[in-house]
Amino acid sequence: MPQFSLYEEEFQPSPWQQTWREFRTSHAAFIGLFILGLFVCFALFAPLVAPYDPIAQNIDALMIPPSWNMNGTISHLFGTDSLGRDLFSRIVYGCRVTLGSSLLLVLVALMTGVTIGTIAGMLRGVRSSIVNHLLDALMAIPTLLIAIIIVAILGTGLVNSMWAITLALTPQFIHHTRSFVRNEMKKEYILASKLDGANHWQLFFHSILPNMIEMLVVQGTLALSIAVIDISALGFLNLGAQPPLPELGAILADGLDVAYLAPWNVALPGLAIFLIVLSINVVGDGLRSALRKRLSR
């Protein structure tokens, strides 16, 4: 018992502030966050950032090299493609399509996966197994192949390819969540909460979910980078987004026809995809170690 009264600490950092403090100490992760933030800004504010309409063709300006080239003009920052469309605007809009749709589908896959996985983890015996292995057949085939099969059945298009990739990503979330929930349920603090009278719902939200964030971040970033690659791969193969839609993979495929005459049409969208995936992975890694350090220091 303290015999004297002490002043209270005036400022207590919240969990998010602590995570941010740990995150900032890693420079690589910080640079990654900056790059990812740039792409997210492109995706959010594409109409404001892009100088031209991404679909508008300009016959007077075919295959203009990027601005840093001797023959380039500053009015077309990244040059133009074989139809005279401004490449910079197309890449900005391409970020919106590729990154935006990937984010959306990963969120959907994460929600369904965590829901089903939690139900499976809370259930016992055969019922748990059935729920757990509900979508396992999808894991036997590589993601891209499932996507191709689904696109073959439903027809090409961005939305169909998004459904396909969502379906392919969900089983991993189910399995990871289920094994995690299983493990946690055996621990004593869950027993203590049960003694307090918590039901399964409250147990999940107040006891298990705070511990699950690290796992969700790891799996979520992995899934996000897979989703970006798959969306652009399907676009590249002409199975996903259809040509007039500026999608990074589709832009890449368009540029491939004139790769010898205008190599920037291939290099720049490819670079954009590469940077998006790299920054997602770097940020995910930094976030994971920040979350882990928050709970160990």
């Binding site: 018992m1 303290p2 002490l6 209270e8 600490e9 207590q12 969990p15 621990k187 004593e188 603090y189 027993l191 203590a192 909460s193 049960k194 003694l195 307090d196 009278g197 918590a198 039901n199 409250q202 107040h206 006891s207 705070p210 511990n211 964030i213 928050r294 709970l295 160990s296 220091r297």
Partner: protein, 268 residues
């Protein structure tokens, strides 16, 4: 109404299915008769695998017994059912401190949230009142108000033990059940905790049931001792009686092993 808890005919049977070339293992606990008065301290001693922890868990209701009855505060419970989450009175009246207090703390949430959980589930206090009560309880167990914002990894073992204690007493229970609460603590923290519990007992009129291997603490703390062997209560009675005139061979062994460390006293 001095009796806060009465246990009658509590039986638990655990048997593994017989397998090929293997004898079936049968562990039988009880029948247990037990009665606890208000403000009384009961110690359970015995060797490992005697069923002490199991008994403690059955008393608080985490494990369902096979038959028997537990009377809490003149309210009867059928011990053969695990309590449904809705039986609030039970978690209000009887609370448990776990053997490993660090495992009994959720690593992902702050101490404040851990302590808030029983309040949220069992009382109708609003947020301000909850915070006030949590801070008062923290101070009561010898922590600071700032510990509200701390995570498990920031606390030492002794502080974790205090949080476990705070969590147990925050609902003002009638009975506290503790499974080796002092095992992992160093002597000074241990005596602090013991004194804390004695003080709380004086303040709240708490009945305290604890399991311990440390007979010194048992002798210091307990009014009544229960000796268990192989799932049976082999001897029970007043602490001094047990320590001076042990009857059962098991009790004699335990007391002798303790007294061989304290050579001043001899068995009469």
């Amino acid at each position: 109404m001095n009796e806060v808890m009465r246990v009658s005919d509590l039986v638990f049977e655990h048997s593994r299915k017989k397998r090929w070339l293997k004898k079936p293992e049968i562990f039988r606990l009880g029948p247990i008769e037990l009665s606890v008065q208000r403000g009384e301290t009961v110690a359970i001693i015995g060797e490992n695998r005697a069923g002490k922890s199991l008994l403690a868990k059955m008393l608080v209701g985490t494990i369902a017994a096979d038959s028997g009855e537990i009377c809490l505060n003149s309210q009867r419970y059928n011990a053969a059912q695990t309590p449904s989450p809705k039986s609030h009175h039970r978690s209000n009246d009887i609370r448990m401190i776990f053997q490993h207090s660090s495992e009994a703390m959720n690593p992902g949430i702050t101490v404040g949230k851990i302590l808030n959980e029983p309040l949220r589930l069992n009382t109708n206090l609003d947020e301000v009142e909850c915070k006030q009560l949590i801070e008062n309880t923290l101070v009561k167990v010898g922590l600071l108000r700032e510990h509200y914002f701390f995570y498990r990894h920031m606390l030492s073992d002794g502080q974790q033990q205090r949080v476990a204690l705070a969590r147990a007493i925050i609902l003002q229970p009638k009975i506290l059940v503790a499974d080796e609460p002092f095992a992992a603590l160093d002597p000074s923290i241990r005596s602090q905790t013991v004194n804390l519990i004695l003080q709380l007992q004086k303040e709240l009129g708490l009945a305290f049931i604890f399991i311990s291997h440390n007979l010194g603490i048992v002798r210091h703390l307990a009014d009544k001792v229960i000796v268990m062997e192989n799932g049976q209560i082999v001897e029970s009675g007043k602490t001094e009686t047990i320590f001076r005139w042990p009857q059962h061979p098991m009790t004699k062994k335990l007391i002798l092993s303790y007294q061989s460390l304290v050579p001043q006293q001899t068995l009469r």
